[in-house]
Amino acid sequence: MKRTHDMGGDTDAGAIDRTEHAMDDWEVLADALNQVLGVKGIKCTDETRRAREDMDSEAYLSLSYYERWIASLETILVEKGLVTREEVDRKVAELENRWGEP
């Protein structure tokens, strides 16, 4: 069966939205983090692509572009033993605490 990311030629497409959005800081970070881990040889494009393409269909279609990047990067870093899900959960809680209410 065809997987979700393999969407070339799907006939349910509408008009192309050509609006450009200014990147948020976290998107710049997501982009840079992906690139720099590649440059350092810690992961390669094919690995993060595989993780992205393995995402379940609902997540793939509902997350934004850089959310997909971050989700797939986390999968790869967990697989490589560089981080654990729990470490990331703890760090998110710590950051939320430090940031307070936006």
């Binding site: 990311h5 393999d6 969407m7 070339g8 030629g9 799907d10 006939t11 349910d12 497409a13 509408g14 008009a15 192309i16 939205d17 050509r18 609006t19 450009e20 959005h21 200014a22 990147m23 948020d24 800081d25 976290w26 710049v28 970070l29 997501a30 982009d31 840079a32 983090l33 690139q35 720099v36 881990l37 350092k40 494009t45 094919d46 692509r49 992205r52 393409e53 279609l61 997350l63 572009y65 850089y66 959310e67 971050i70 989700a71 990067l73 986390e74 870093l77 560089l82 981080v83 470490e87 990331v88 760090k91 998110v92 710590e94 950051l95 939320e96 430090r98 940031w99 307070g100 936006p102």
Partner: protein, 210 residues
């Protein structure tokens, strides 16, 4: 610069708006990787700056020189990465890099149906529409309709070739040189070469914008 401060700074002051689940995890992973010494804040900042420095101006220069110098064009099409290196454009991260030349009879259009592969060292980050599901879906079975949406109505006798990029194969289109531009300098010609014309969904501009 689209962002107001560097990606290393935001967590000190706190974000200006509520972040999504995955945005928070991006900051969390950044901090963990820095704490573990896998990357440094500086590595990340330098990478972001490096990426920001890649703009379609790189591609426009290569196209304008290809228009004015047949010998350059021949060398560029034969060995694009070598010519990029000579021009001070680092294309070493591209595996295969293929140059496609539009003619009166054949037009090329580039997509990445599976995600967003793009000649980043030459054009910078891909535009949002290039990454959109609608472009990824339609580029391969409705390229003429896509071009019409961008403002280009192709005659039926012009052949359209769509190139689906991969992690290992990236493309750049040399658009046709607009008529009546014989007297323009290379610098003026560069201003005609838009990003979208190098993806192949548009023509180069007919004249230098005001």
């Amino acid at each position: 610069m689209a962002h107001e401060h560097e990606p290393g700074e935001e967590h000190e002051a706190g974000p200006r708006h509520e972040l999504s689940h995955w945005a928070k995890r991006a900051y969390a992973m950044r901090d963990i990787l820095v704490e573990k010494g896998v990357v440094t804040e500086n590595d990340i900042r330098q990478q972001a700056e490096f990426t920001e420095s890649k703009t379609p101006a790189n591609g426009a220069r290569l196209v304008a020189l290809s228009w004015t110098d047949p010998e350059f064009k021949a060398r560029f099409m034969a060995d694009p990465k070598k010519v990029c290196a000579e021009m001070g454009i680092d294309a070493s991260t591209l595996n295969e890099f293929v140059i496609l030349e539009n003619t009166d009879k054949v037009r090329h259009m580039v997509v990445c149906t599976l995600c967003s592969c793009y000649p980043r060292p030459i054009l910078g980050r891909p535009p949002d529409w290039y990454k959109s599901f609608n472009y990824r879906k339609r580029a391969v079975n409705d390229p003429r309709g896509v071009m019409r949406e961008f403002g280009l109505d192709l005659p039926d006798d012009v052949e359209v070739r769509v190139h689906d990029s991969t992690a290992d194969m990236r493309y750049l289109v040399i658009p046709a040189r607009p008529a009546g531009t014989e007297n323009l300098s290379v610098e003026e010609l560069e201003k005609l070469v838009t990003r979208d014309s190098m993806i192949g969904v548009m023509d180069a501009l007919p004249s230098v914008p005001e």
